[in-house]
């Protein structure tokens, strides 16, 4: 029945429009990719990146990412290339709504690439194992002033050259050439982080952002024509799930003793109910059974040994 419902739902789902595709290709085992590109449907082949700019990506770990809006087709056909050489092709079924996350894994032999059903969620890769890490997406809006050409983002946790801020549409949600530059960072979880935008080695501006207690966050900056050069457009906004209090060592007061509290209150409520019911039953039994017999016994005793006059 469920399969029938799903089939009906799928049949009723519109095909057309665009879908936000988040693609990860794991090449750690096969190690066969040098310049990976992926062709979606009949479109042009798009480059995959492993430079740490995508949310959740660790630079150079041989897991390549692509985020892009692509035409919705059912099924979605993807061809993976390394340079101009075809590595393999896969077909994937898209979800009925929302973004499509697809994890692939390269193979040393044929078919070259396959869908990796055991991969962790894209963008939060390994989050559960890394409570000390945060995938931070940074956007720098330069639409008003047009001051940036090939900027980079520096933090105390990145090298001197920083992470490139891109406006080529390679990162999820980015519109190429719109003047909004994007970078994805994988940073150690800290309360606040200084972000510095550099252009041609010179600092454009620097802001301090406070990071939320999540696995993913997004912060938006803008270039300004004041001495600061850079301003915070919006604070770092959590885009992932809140880390548990136990994992982060902070949070609710109830966290550590919640189990004991539940036990205590369930026990109190249970005892109260049982005690009240037992008391009622005992009272009822006393009134209905014991008290009448005692009264009868009293009367019998009175008859046998009538109380004498008070002394």
């Amino acid at each position: 029945m469920w399969f029938l419902c799903l089939a009906l739902a799928r049949a009723a789902a519109p095909v057309g429009g665009e879908v936000e595709l988040r693609l990860a290709v794991d090449d750690r085992a096969a190690r066969r990719l040098q310049a990976p590109r992926v062709q979606v449907g009949a479109g042009e082949a798009l480059p995959l990146v492993d430079d740490g700019t995508a949310a959740g990506d660790i630079a150079g770990d041989r897991i390549y990412f692509l985020g892009r809006s692509v035409p919705r087709t059912d099924p979605l056909r993807l061809a993976l290339y390394d340079g101009d050489a075809l590595v393999g092709e896969v077909q994937a079924v898209l979800p009925l709504s929302g973004p499509a996350d697809l994890s692939l894994k390269t193979e040393a032999g044929p078919p070259g690439v396959r869908v990796d059903t055991a991969a962790p969620p894209i963008g939060v890769a390994g989050e559960g194992d890394r409570p000390d890490r945060l995938a931070l997406r940074v956007e720098v809006d330069d639409r008003a002033l047009h001051r940036l050409r090939s900027p980079a983002l520096r933090t105390s946790q990145t090298g001197a050259e920083g992470t490139p801020l891109r406006d080529d549409g390679a990162l999820p949600g980015d519109t190429p050439g719109d003047g909004v530059f994007v970078a994805g960072l994988d940073v150690a979880r800290v309360q606040s982080l200084a972000l510095e935008v550099v252009e041609g080695g010179a600092a454009v501006g620097r802001v301090q952002v406070f990071l939320p207690n999540t696995g993913e966050a997004e912060v938006k900056l803008q270039t300004v024509d004041t001495a600061e050069g850079l301003a915070l457009l919006s604070e770092a906004v959590a885009t992932g799930a809140v880390q548990s209090a136990a994992a982060t060592g902070s949070g609710g007061e109830g966290g550590g003793i919640a189990g004991l509290g539940h036990l205590l209150w369930v026990a109190i409520a249970g005892f109260a109910l049982v005690f009240a019911q037992m008391r009622t039953l005992l009272q009822h039994r006393w009134d209905q059974e014991v008290a009448p017999r005692l009264a009868r016994l009293d009367r019998v005793l009175d008859r046998l040994d009538p109380p004498g006059p008070a002394a």
């Binding site: 809006d141 639409r143 008003a144 002033l145 309360q191 606040s192 301090q208 406070f210 938006k220 803008q222 300004v224 024509d225 004041t226 301003a231 457009l233 919006s234 906004v237 809140v242 548990s244 209090a245 902070s250 949070g251 609710g252 007061e253 109830g254 966290g255 550590g256 003793i257 919640a258 004991l260 509290g261 539940h262 205590l264 209150w265 369930v266 409520a269 109910l273 009240a276 019911q277 009622t280 039953l281 009822h284």
Partner: protein
């Protein structure tokens, strides 16, 4: 009082139920269309706005009047009280008057309900008047009046429900069951909190009664009457549930699931143990620390102080059974008050503002356990102190038994006005108006950028919403941002002008070059006007420097017509 005929007694009761709201909302009675009862920085404006929306845009559940151009979901933002906008907002020509009338009606209904409950429990007529006063004039409800949260004033349904439930327990009849169902339906339509309160009352009182008497928990006659009540309530409640389910109730539930990890906790997320007997005047706003040393002014705080007079008479009422009054319901009400107080105190026990620790461990209260066993509870857990309304209910019932003479009613009202932590006369908000707003209302269609409207600051928001009831044009904000949803507030994170005038620490326009670009973007989205109040002189000066002299300025508000992007750039 006992010598009065039934008709005279009812007249006295009704007069008292009319007088109490007039006193508690004073001076609103002097200008009910020009003054709104409630603090200008609390959520008064939002409640007046819903009344206006119900008359001018009924059924427009998703409207671009708020959060223009994306729009906001009215049910999701302000759907807690459906009854008030339906009964009053939909026809009353003045939304300010509608809000004031609704607040007064709820206070009056509370007086009558608590008086009725006291009589059902065996109190005297004088005691009933005192009970009605102790309930409706409780500092807790006075503070909710100040907050503007009529959905809490609609706890007036609680004493009616309790009295009917007790009567049903004594003499189960279908008519009483139907009445119980009708009260439940009306109470639920009037507040999203009421179903939780009613459930608590029902479970505790029936559970207590069942534990006290042998036999089935629901005797057949009681079950039949209850069935009639369920049949009466099912239709309206099902419709309401469907409405909320279709308008983001699931997201609200999911959003509130992190209530235990809020750090720091919201000032109104718990009741301190000492706060129940602390008569000190409220301090507004409560200051919340933010990361980086910044602070946030939180205006909708709470008062759970029970009142010295009510506590004294309530304690006297505890001994009422000596006068031959029924013991069972009083024990049940005592249990109900204790259970509600425990829930109102939040997840852990706090004393004097600090978490009480024993051996380094915080003392857990039952709220997290209730949330575990009954997950929908988290919808109310974020503002757990609101369960104090059930504590006030239980206390007022005991007041009705402890006070025998009617003189206690004015004494309690006097105490509520003069010795309450909540200021008297009631804090009011002037309804906006003036030549500039009238001119803006008459201007060609287009959305209005109201500056400053600091994000998530109720003060600015309430004022902006009140202004919209005058000018009738869409505005850029419309509610608490995390409640509205990410998509709704996306523009605030993308447009530097919008971000600038919404900034918590010093709203301001960006530099002229940046402002021109982003104002052009806003023009492209449909914004045509920039409206700035006189109490933001810095923003008015920036606006004048950027856009020239205002199109209208009446000393209270000034507004500018935004130039088309070509002209701006």
């Amino acid at each position: 009082m006992d010598a009065l005929s039934p008709r005279a007694w009812r007249a006295v009761l009704l007069l008292w139920a009319a007088l109490v709201p007039i006193v508690l909302t004073w001076p609103v009675a002097t200008d009910p269309t020009g003054l709104v009862v409630g603090h200008p920085r609390a959520s008064v404006g939002a409640h007046v706005w819903v009344m206006w929306w119900a008359r001018h845009h009924p059924g427009e559940w998703f409207t671009d009047l708020l959060f223009f151009p994306i729009g906001g979901d009215v049910v999701r933002l302000y759907g807690s009280d459906v009854l008030g906008p339906l009964l009053l907002g939909s026809w009353c020509p003045s939304p300010v008057l509608a809000h004031n009338l609704w607040a007064a009606a709820l206070i009056g209904a509370g007086v009558l309900g608590a008086a009725h409950l006291a009589r059902v429990l065996g109190g005297t007529r004088g005691g009933a008047l005192a009970a009605g006063t102790a309930f409706a004039a409780a500092p807790f409800f006075q503070h909710e009046l100040l907050n503007g949260t009529t959905e809490l004033l609609s706890a007036a349904a609680l004493p009616w429900f309790t009295a009917t439930l007790l009567r049903l327990g004594r003499r189960p009849r279908p008519a009483l069951g139907a009445l119980l169902g009708a009260i439940t339906a009306l109470g639920t339509l009037a507040s999203a909190y009421n179903p939780f309160f009613l459930l608590l009352i029902g479970i505790v009182l029936r559970g207590h009664q069942a534990a006290r008497q042998p036999g089935p928990v629901l005797p057949p006659a009681f079950a039949r009457a209850l069935g009639v009540g369920v049949a009466v309530a099912a239709g309206p409640i099902a419709a309401l549930l469907a409405l909320h389910a279709a308008h983001g109730a699931g997201q609200t539930l999911a959003r509130r699931e992190d209530w235990l990890t809020q750090d720091p906790p919201l000032p109104d997320s718990f009741a301190d143990l000492l706060a129940w007997v602390d008569p000190r005047a409220i301090v507004l706003p409560a200051t919340m620390p933010l990361p980086g040393g910044a602070t946030f002014a939180y205006w909708t705080t709470c008062t759970v102080y029970l009142g010295a007079g009510a506590l004294f008479l309530g304690l006297a009422g505890l001994w009422a059974r000596r006068r031959g009054l029924a013991r069972g319901p009083l024990e049940g009400l005592l249990l109900l008050g204790a259970a509600a107080a425990l829930l109102a105190m939040g997840p852990v026990l706090r004393v004097g503002g600090e978490v009480l620790r024993v051996g380094g461990l915080a003392l857990p209260l039952p709220a997290p356990t209730v949330a575990l066993l009954f997950p929908p509870f988290v919808l109310t857990a974020l503002h757990a102190y609101r369960y104090a309304s059930v504590v006030v209910l239980a206390l007022s019932a005991f007041v009705g038994l402890g006070a025998r003479r009617a003189v206690w009613a004015p004494v309690l009202l006097l105490e509520a006005t003069l010795l309450s932590p909540v200021p008297f006369p009631a804090t009011t908000t002037p309804a906006p108006g003036g030549a500039a707003l009238d001119a803006l209302a008459a201007a060609p269609a287009g959305a209005v950028l109201v500056a400053p409207t600091v994000a998530d600051d109720l003060h600015d928001l309430g004022r902006a919403l009140l202004v919209q009831t005058v000018v009738g044009k869409p505005i850029q904000d419309g509610g608490i941002h995390h409640r509205a949803g990410d998509g709704t507030v996306a523009l605030f994170k993308e447009n530097a002008v919008l971000a600038g005038i919404s900034r918590m620490s010093g709203a301001a326009l960006p530099s002229p070059a940046v402002s021109r670009f982003f104002l052009g973007e806003l023009y492209g989205l449909g914004f045509r006007y920039l409206l700035v109040p006189a109490d933001a002189p810095g923003l008015q000066a920036q606006s004048a420097a950027l856009l020239g002299p205002p199109a209208a300025d009446d000393g209270a508000w000034a507004w500018w017509a935004l130039p088309a992007p070509a002209a701006a750039l």
